[in-house]
Symmetry: C2
């Protein structure tokens, strides 16, 4: 709103106000978020970034990203799952999942078996290495969850999990 | 678990199980998420992606991303804000914010004024064009929020907003 008053004084460059210096501000001010305070997406994104930062840091030692963790968990829990079923279940774009699976295969963590039901369809499974890595990842992910529970407070953590889990896309 | 039995039978290629076909699965099965059901990050990410998809689609016509919207709102609401204050307030990495501001300046939506208090410091403001675009963006963002409220249900939306907003990083 402040800028619009100055704009009416502009004569040459519409992108540059005439005034040469900006108003002074007290140091370490409280920044107003204005209508962002009513935007669920803004706060859910801040929360998601904070959670992922903790997860990524804890699982960096075994080089497993949040998305890779989800993929490994769901493959292990659903023997014979196809790529398209996995993509749909996790809400991952097909092309991105194909790239992820390619990298996991290069690391010898997952394999694609031809399906007995349909020759064109591939069924995903973990290798023994994949299972070993997933077991380590689950320990670190549980530590991560405990850290989030502590940081958020157990009650806020429980409510958020329940509310977010109930959202079906 | 299934893979580990097969692996012990392998003789040649450790990445390929001996069995030639995978077990059959019923069509359209319910995929088990296993321990992802206890991972707040998994569901918060799903929710965040769904919210952002709606926001991005609605603001595509004016070419404003969620991050750009946040930046424009906070600059407008805090005259004379510095880059580092903005980065800190929004939790955006400094280098990423610099790139964002560069693009907004090229579109003549924001300007950097030399600060009267400190010559090295720059104060951010919207141009008249920036204010006009922000006004349109706010209308679309409010429509987006109303759509989310409908999709989530007003009570779940209110609770999620309150819980996520209360998280201070």
């Amino acid at each position: 709103m402040a800028a619009s008053k100055r704009v009416s004084d502009r004569t040459k460059d519409v992108t540059m106000p005439l005034r040469k210096t900006a108003p002074q501000r007290a140091s370490a001010p409280v920044v107003a978020l204005d209508e962002l305070n009513d935007r669920l997406g803004y706060f859910v994104r801040r929360l998601q970034v904070a959670i992922f930062q903790d997860f990524i840091r804890r699982l960096a030692r075994i080089d497993v990203s949040p998305a890779q963790f989800s993929v490994l968990v769901v493959i292990a829990a659903n023997p014979g799952l196809s790529q398209s079923e996995l993509a749909k279940a996790l809400g991952i774009e097909r092309a991105r999942l194909v790239r992820m699976l390619h990298r996991l295969e290069l690391r010898k963590l997952t394999v694609r078996l031809p399906s007995s039901a349909d020759g064109r369809r591939h069924a995903l499974e973990l290798t023994r290495e994949g299972e070993k890595l997933l077991a380590r990842a689950k320990v670190l992910a549980a530590e991560h969850e405990e850290a989030m529970r502590t940081k958020l407070g157990p009650e806020r953590h429980r409510q958020l999990l329940e509310l977010a889990r109930g959202f079906d896309g």
